[in-house]
């Protein structure tokens, strides 16, 4: 395949992938790990340990509280110091388990390795993915077992592996592809078998030719099903689920729909690797590769951090700050979609793809002006929305209008705000509208559910009242 694939809109910010040549290093052990019980979308996990309990590395410390939830494992051996809350990257308090490491790093009994996974029932593999607590490691952290259980009535024919890493500055997935291609491809085949699909693609942006080469070479060994490595145009947000599906298959996910509606499943490179490790090595997900980068740092690089490592330690590991350098902004994730955090105590989580520092000269003070109606945001919006119009509506709190202009389809990629010459905080507007409209929709749904329930109860009562009469 020599055709270069891409999608509508998008921007091309300065890549700044300075750490792409730095090999992944295992981070050392730290005395204290703050492990959030909510490292995924959905209900926070239920803690299985009590204060004072001794835990081992890889031991399960949290169990899923509902269908959309995940399992949590201890990152090291030690004692449970406390169970409380900690500051998460979104600025909210997350329930957490604080583990005081004993320095021994004694592993718990691993999950039984399934070496003969090609002849294993996919249901067993899926159960393993759930037991290993695997979530989407690209950023959204959607529990992988939920993604792999296809809702009834939907068919899947295509698996897309996301090795795009379109966020500037981040290089964690890139390094993983270079250093661990075999494990990734095993994981890809596993997922393909679990889903029973024949079309398998790995999408990689053209700015990582070495990764494309390595994976293409290794992928030739896989024939059932064949794994195709697809080079993609360098364009942000190529790695967004819907954009990637369109770029590779030319299928458009309908508004408000899921990839399953166009028969696709998209899986991250890191998650594929974690799935393979969980099945072949029996290793649960308690560590991940994270890029620590930014101009104020002495030695940006990629490290394999245990979950619960505070950002402060990660920054120290990257050589600390240059002399005279200051942190003006600390971002969890990449510069486009990452979340600004205000404390270095925030822990590395299963979805922390990067820790980015910005100096004072890189951070612009916000000055919002009136919309110029230039339309640049319309040109770059990968969802083909009209961010300028939406932001004016939202500024005037016309959320119903914004809803009919499809604000709920916004993926918050930030292209509009990046390109806006008036410096309007467009993403913040969209997020406000999404939270307001989302709350309204949830309330409507709850009211409809309650009405349906009341109706059903009334019907049951009427039937119950009639039944004795029928007896007579």
């Amino acid at each position: 395949m020599h055709k270069i694939f891409h999608f509508y809109g998008g921007v091309h910010p300065k890549e700044s992938k300075v750490s792409s040549g730095v090999a992944i290093v295992d981070a050392p052990l730290y005395p204290l790990y703050t492990v959030p019980l909510s490292m995924h979308i959905g209900a926070p996990a239920k803690s299985l340990v009590a204060v004072g309990d001794t835990v081992l590395r890889g031991q399960q410390i949290g169990e899923p509280a509902s269908f959309v939830s995940s399992t949590i494992h201890s990152p090291t051996s030690g004692k449970v110091k406390s169970i409380g809350t900690c500051l998460g990257p979104a600025g909210t308090q997350l329930p957490c388990v604080v583990i005081e490491a004993d320095g021994q790093d004694t592993p718990a009994d691993p999950l039984t390795p399934i070496t003969d996974w090609r002849n294993t029932d996919p249901a067993i593999l899926r159960a393993r993915v759930a037991a290993a607590g695997i979530v989407g490691m690209g950023g959204a952290s959607f529990p992988t077992p939920v993604k792999l259980s296809i809702p009834p009535g939907k068919t899947i024919d295509t698996l897309i592996i996301n090795g795009v890493e379109c966020e500037p500055c981040l290089t964690a997935d890139h390094r993983l592809m270079l250093e661990n291609p075999k494990m990734i491809l095993e994981g890809v085949e596993m997922v393909a078998n679990m889903l029973g699909v024949q079309n398998v693609f790995i999408g990689i942006e053209n700015n990582k030719p070495d990764a494309i080469e390595v994976l293409t070479k290794e992928a030739t060994a896989y024939t059932a099903p064949a794994i195709h490595v697809v080079p993609l145009k360098v364009r942000y947000p190529q790695g967004a689920e819907k954009q990637l599906i369109y770029a590779i298959t030319k299928r458009q996910v309908p508004s408000g729909g899921l990839p399953a509606d166009v028969h696709c499943v998209v899986q991250n490179i890191g998650s594929s690797c974690a799935i393979a490790e969980a099945v072949i090595l029996g290793k649960p997900l308690y560590e991940r590769v994270t890029t620590v980068t930014g101009t104020p740092l002495v030695a940006p690089g990629n490290w394999r951090f245990r979950v619960g490592t505070p950002y402060a330690e990660a920054i120290k590991l990257a050589g600390g700050l240059k002399e005279g350098a200051q942190i003006a902004k600390l971002i969890s994730g990449g510069p486009m979609m990452g979340m600004t955090v205000y404390s270095q105590s925030v822990p590395v989580m299963k979805n922390t793809s990067g820790i980015l520092l910005m100096g004072p000269d890189e951070v612009k003070q916000y000055t919002s002006k009136a919309c110029l109606r230039c339309g640049r945001c319309n040109d770059v919006c990968p969802m083909q929305l009209m961010p300028g119009i939406l932001s004016v509506q939202i500024e005037n709190e016309r959320f119903d209008d914004a809803q009919s202009w499809h604000v709920m389809d916004c993926i918050e990629c930030g292209c509009c705000a990046y390109t806006c010459p008036a410096g309007r905080p467009l993403v913040q507007h969209m997020r406000r509208a999404k939270s307001e409209v989302g709350a309204k929709l949830r309330a409507q749904k709850a009211a409809a559910d309650a009405a349906a329930k009341a109706k059903a109860e009334a019907a049951a009562k009427a039937a119950g009242a009639e039944a004795p009469k029928a007896d007579k």
Binding site: G91, M339, V341, Y342, P425, R432
Partner: protein, 258 residues
């Protein structure tokens, strides 16, 4: 010339059509309803629980509501309305909104510089507003902007303050505060515990020097007026039996104040 004729003819025809339609479909305004509406303030604040002044007037005439629910009308207007409708006035207890936070920028710390959209509800989306205390007033004025009477002021240290003499207790600000710091309380209460953070005293005192640290001094002095919130390091004024103004002097952090 032809243009002029066409315009005149079209204008005449349209005028006749409008006149006829308004005669056939015109709705006679209810004169009583009109009069009742004129006695209301016209602020459309919604404090009566009906959709605007017109909605309340309609309900009054229909007998579905009693005069006295409007908290922003002039003195004596409710009695006039009652006379007009031939019913009794049902006075509701006058209430005012209170912002239950004392943590202005002199007393409470902020952990980050927020320079996004200047509205509390937008700020909440970004790291929950950057104030160290999770129950702290952000001071970006969402409540002040929705107040139809201009009763809320953001003071120079970025804290929302309700002017009791202007506030009519319509409750619009209650829904606007994303931290749910505003509550309607009886106007007769002189002092309030201006804190809603339930965490341990030392913990919140680190974030805010004006926090109620739950020391219980006020409760010991006047147990009939103030009580501790169960399960929280927080005192609460008993609005059924509000404390005298002098009790504020015992509070070491001045969370209990006017």
């Amino acid at each position: 010339m032809v243009t002029l004729v066409i315009i005149v003819v079209v204008g005449l025809l349209t005028g006749i059509a409008i006149a006829l339609v308004s005669r056939w479909f015109g709705v006679e305004p209810n004169p009583v309803e009109e009069e009742v509406r004129n006695l209301l303030s016209g602020a459309n604040c919604g404090g009566c629980g009906f959709p605007g002044c017109a909605g309340y007037a309609k309900a009054l005439v229909a007998g579905a509501a009693k005069p006295g629910a409007c908290s922003s009308q002039c003195a004596g207007a409710a009695e006039k309305m009652a006379k007009l409708l031939g019913v009794a006035v049902v006075h509701k207890e006058p209430k005012v909104a209170v912002v239950f936070c004392s943590g202005d920028d002199m007393k409470a710390t902020r952990q980050a510089l927020y320079n996004g959209i200047n509205d509390c509800r937008d700020a909440m989306i970004v790291a929950a507003g950057a104030k160290t205390c999770a129950y702290g007033c952000l001071g970006l004025g969402a409540c002040a902007r929705v107040c139809p009477f201009g009763a809320i002021e953001i003071n120079e240290h970025r804290l929302a303050v309700v002017h009791k003499e202007i506030c009519v207790g319509c409750g619009k600000c209650v829904g606007a505060c994303p931290k749910k710091l505003i509550k309607l309380v009886p106007k007769s209460a002189e002092i309030h515990v201006h804190c809603m953070n339930p965490v341990r005293g030392p913990e919140k005192f680190k974030a805010c020097k004006a926090a109620c640290i739950g020391c219980g001094k006020c409760v010991k002095t006047a147990p009939e007026h103030v009580k501790l919130v169960p399960g929280a390091a927080l005192a609460e004024v008993d609005y059924g039996n509000p404390p005298p103004e002098a009790l504020a002097e015992v509070c070491p952090t001045h969370a209990l104040r006017k």
